[in-house]
């Protein structure tokens, strides 16, 4: 106990389940230091403890602090066992962007290269867990373009838009930050276990403010959304119904002074109703195109370096040249796919080709990486996206 450094004490106290940022800073205020707070807890002096906001500390949280104070090494060993690094507001390399939060998370735990948290360009891409194929495609395109502009993509590792954005970054060998609403013992949904590995292997970060074994509760996901928006220069909402967590991220972003962009949808579409509400009721700006996005973000040229102003024209020239590489049936299918996602039957109707011929063309385009399937819908990819 006496051997614990102030940083370790801070870490142990911050990881006590249920204490939260408010409880943590309340303890810090009363006892003067994390070490003193742990000693106080071990001596049974937590009575009448209040959080930084003046609320009484819950009985469970107080018990957790006492428990942590009695066996501080257990917390530290657990972090080491999972291979987690930690960042505390005391550390020089605590992400400066998070200082807009009041209070900033007392503890950040993560896997991967923490330098990504200091990237000059960082954009949050968020949206619904149940996107339409078009929404998923847009998330993929946006994320791909942000990688080309040298930006880090921040999102929440949920299935749907979040997953599509993370995966697109990983596939283009970019770097991405996944802020999870659980502890690292169960990082994100089960379906994304491979994605987690790919993000870390690609130099990205999987970040959480929660202790590794903290349970996911109703509040943890909305609360981590404030970290997603804070870590980014801008928040991009791709598809969000009216009661979407992505809207919480957007509102945090607005409060934190971040640029917020929403992809508009058709009036009356339920899965973009939240985006339209943002555009109507807040200073959020519409996402009208990938070039315009980079202009709004002021990401043209400069440090990202890989994007020129004339990118749009050059890219469509490349797509035209790419189409010229194809023989006839594939080219007709590719031309239709370039205009947007289509089912096999829609491609048959649009090209007038036999179903077997369309099927063969689709397989060829998939082999080239120019198309891929999402259920019955085929999506353009590669050069067909530009």
């Amino acid at each position: 106990m006496a051997l614990l450094s102030e940083r370790d004490a801070w870490l142990v106290l911050g990881c006590a389940p249920g204490v939260g940022a408010g409880g943590f800073y309340g303890l810090l205020e009363r006892f003067g230091s994390a070490s003193a707070a742990l000693r106080g807890a071990a001596d049974g002096r937590l009575g009448g403890q209040r959080t930084a906001r003046g609320m009484p500390l819950t009985g469970e949280a107080a018990a957790a602090v006492v428990e942590a104070a009695r066996e501080p090494q257990r917390t530290l060993a657990r972090l080491a066992a999972l291979g987690l690094w930690s960042l505390l507001p005391l550390d020089a390399d605590y992400p400066a962007r998070l200082l807009v939060l009041d209070p900033p998370p007392p503890v950040l735990l993560g896997w991967g290269d923490a330098a990504v948290l200091h990237a000059a360009r960082s954009v949050a891409v968020v949206g619904t867990r149940r996107p339409t194929p078009a929404g998923r495609l847009l998330a993929t395109r946006v994320a791909g373009r942000l990688v080309e502009a040298g930006a880090v993509v921040v999102s929440g590792l949920a299935v749907g838009i979040d997953g599509a954005a993370h995966a697109a970054v990983v596939e283009r060998e970019g770097r991405t930050v996944a802020v999870i609403g659980t502890g690292h013992a169960q990082p994100g949904p089960r379906a994304h276990r491979r994605l987690v590995e790919a993000i870390v292997a690609g130099g990205g970060v999987v970040l959480s403010e929660l202790a590794p074994d903290a349970p996911a509760t109703k509040g943890t996901f909305p609360r981590r959304n404030r970290i997603i928006s804070a870590l980014a220069d801008a928040v991009l909402v791709i598809e969000a119904p009216l009661r979407s967590g992505a809207l919480i991220t957007a509102r945090h972003g607005l409060e934190q002074g971040r640029l917020v962009l929403a992809a508009p949808g058709r009036p009356g579409d339920p899965w973009t109703a939240g985006c339209l509400a943002l555009l109507r009721e807040t200073p959020a700006r519409p996402l009208v195109g990938l070039d315009e996005l980079l202009v709004d973000l002021d990401y043209m040229g400069g440090e990202g370096g890989r994007v020129q102003a004339s990118r749009g024209a050059a890219a469509s020239l490349a797509a035209g040249a790419a189409l010229a590489l194809l023989a006839d049936p594939e080219r007709r299918v590719a031309e239709r796919l370039r205009r947007g996602p289509a089912s096999h039957d829609a491609l048959v109707a649009a090209t007038g080709l036999a179903p077997g011929v369309v099927a063969a063309a689709l397989t060829l385009l998939q082999l080239r990486g120019w198309a891929h399937a999402s259920g019955p819908v085929h999506l353009p990819a590669g050069p067909l996206l530009r």
């Binding site: 867990r129 149940r130 339409t132 194929p133 949920a158 299935v159 749907g160 997953g163 599509a164 993370h166 995966a167 990983v170 596939e171 949904p189 089960r190 379906a191 994304h192 491979r194 994605l195 790919a198 339920p270 899965w271 049936p329 089912s343 096999h344 039957d345 829609a346 048959v348 109707a349 036999a354 179903p355 077997g356 011929v357 369309v358 099927a359 063969a360 063309a361 689709l362 397989t363 060829l364 998939q366 082999l367 399937a373 999402s374 259920g375 019955p376 819908v377």
Partner: protein
């Protein structure tokens, strides 16, 4: 006094000869049936007693012993009733056998009338092989029994009729011995695909393909599947037309040939579904059991050891709608018939192997609510649930499905407009031509059942097709089984297009017919 008569029993799909020995001796009035009878057979005692009394005969008040030989085989069912009843009459001296030897099949009712029994066709065939060329059967089973050549078949309605037949020429006139009806009805000579009527086939009402609008891709996939007998899985939201397409299958299947027709007719006979039908079954079977079907209903077995749906679909199509809603055990039981073409029902007393060479056609929703991936309606499943739903169907079973495709909903403009769809008659002719071509080349084996080496040989791949196949195998990480499956499907596509060799475009098209998403291949991001 002792009487010995001959009857038969069904074991699996074969008949087995059984001797019925009846001894009537002085003693306390009891009736013993020995020789491993089952419950239905033990009850024969009561049925026979009442039938004899109600037919104007006397049930002897003596010690009656009925032995069913061979004694070491368990006997099922009620087809022995008639032989036991006549045996008691003969042994008690009420009937004097003067009509020569008759083998007897039939169940007795208490009134003395004779009820039809299942499996008459294989039983009569067995009796004929054993040299018993005169057979008494229930009147309703006469047509079926007459399918066996060289046998004199007498149909009876009552115990009295049978007794008169056994008694000899004087009583013979009274029995209603049906003259042999000529074989007729459906001989498969009509245009294939022409649906005789709107009667139910295998539990569903057939439709004509002309009624299925849109879905050009799925229609094409169905054609390819029928050409090569490939197992087919259709995944799509409710209303996409999966069931409708499946209901068109009976009108697209080519008729059975002579050998196949006999096999199928025997199965129908044992299943008790042949009553009063005087011809071999020429229509290729199509069975559509409901997803609440039990293991025994699908595989066979049950207390009476009857063939299940997989056997009744032998040489035809087994259609399973709502595949993921079937019990897991039931689905896993399909693996054996899909691999071996037969199914084994094991009992403590031995096992029975039923033939079950089926083409499996299955349909399912992509998730519990059905609208995963749907463009118009929102899927109400929680994230992860659609994946779990697809996983209810085990990997090994999915692996047996040669063609798997996702169907989208038909856009409304196609439902009311769009090109007129082809009718079943047109498609059936095309399928039949391609099927004939493939069978002639493969030596009578359907494309789906070609061995790996044969699939490669019959594909006759050119240089470009071969290198494309290599690309695909690498890109999709195909196993040897995957490559062979792709080749077999490609062979059917080429047969449908009238091509001698599988070319590059055909290989590519075949790859598109097994949508990895439809068989639950994990993606990096959900």
């Amino acid at each position: 006094m002792l009487a010995t008569l001959v009857t038969a029993v069904v074991s699996g799909l074969r008949g087995e000869l059984v001797r019925v020995e009846v001894d009537v001796a002085p003693g306390l009035p009891v009736c013993h049936i020995v020789g491993l009878p089952d419950a239905a057979l033990s009850e024969a005692r009561e049925r026979v007693r009442a039938a004899i009394r109600n037919s104007g005969f006397e049930h002897p008040a003596s010690r009656i012993t009925v032995n069913l030989a061979p004694a070491d085989r368990r006997k099922f069912g009620a087809a022995y009733d008639l032989a036991i009843g006549v045996g008691i009459l003969v042994a008690s001296g009420q009937v004097r056998p003067g009509g020569g030897p008759w083998a007897l099949l039939g169940e007795l009712s208490l009134s003395g009338s004779v009820q039809p029994v299942p499996g008459v066709l294989p039983m009569v065939a067995t009796l004929a092989r054993a040299g018993h060329r005169r057979v008494v059967v229930p009147l309703a089973n006469v047509a079926e029994a007459s399918l066996v050549e060289g046998v004199e078949v007498a149909g009876v309605e009552s115990l009295g009729d049978a007794a008169r037949l056994v008694a000899g020429p004087r009583g013979r006139r009274a029995a209603r011995a049906e003259p042999r009806r000529p074989l007729s009805v459906s001989d498969g000579s009509g245009p294939p695909g022409a649906l005789a009527s709107r009667r139910l086939v295998g539990g569903i009402e057939p439709v004509d393909l002309a009624e299925v609008r849109g879905q050009p891709g799925a229609r094409w996939a169905l054609e390819v599947a029928l050409v090569g007998s490939h197992n087919l899985l259709m995944v799509g939201p409710p209303g996409a037309g999966k069931t409708l397409l499946a209901r068109a299958i009976p009108g697209l299947l080519p008729p059975l040939d002579d050998v196949e027709a006999l096999e199928v007719t025997v199965i129908e006979s044992v299943a008790g579904a042949l009553a009063d039908q005087a011809a071999l079954r020429r229509e290729r079977p199509f069975r559509a059991p409901h997803h609440t079907s039990s293991y025994a209903a699908l595989v066979g077995g049950g207390p009476r050891l009857a063939p299940g749906e997989v056997t009744r679909a032998h040489l035809g199509v087994l259609f399973l709608d709502e595949l993921a809603e079937f019990d897991r055990d039931v689905l896993d039981a399909l693996r054996q018939p899909l691999e071996e073409g037969s199914v084994v029902v094991a009992r403590a007393s031995g096992e029975v192997r039923y033939p079950a060479r089926i083409q499996l056609v299955a349909a399912m929703n992509p998730c519990r609510c059905g609208y995963f991936h749907d463009q118009q309606r929102r899927c109400t499943c929680v994230p992860g649930e659609p994946e779990r739903y697809v996983r209810r169907v085990s990997g090994p079973l999915l692996d047996r499905l040669d063609i798997a495709m996702e169907l989208g909903r038909v856009p409304p403009e196609l439902l009311v407009g769009g090109p007129e769809p082809e009718s079943s008659a047109v498609v059936a002719l095309r399928v039949a031509a391609a099927r004939t071509r493939s069978l002639a080349r493969n030596g009578g084996v359907a494309n789906a059942r070609l061995a790996g080496a044969d699939a490669l040989r019959h594909a006759a791949l050119g240089h470009r097709a071969r290198s494309r196949l290599t690309d695909l195998a690498a890109a999709h990480g195909l196993s040897a089984r995957g490559v062979h499956r792709l080749l077999r499907v490609a062979r059917s596509i080429a047969d449908l297009a009238g091509l001698d060799a599988v070319d590059e475009a055909t290989v590519l098209a075949a790859a598109a017919l097994r949508d990895p998403a439809a068989v639950g291949r994990p993606a990096l991001a959900a």
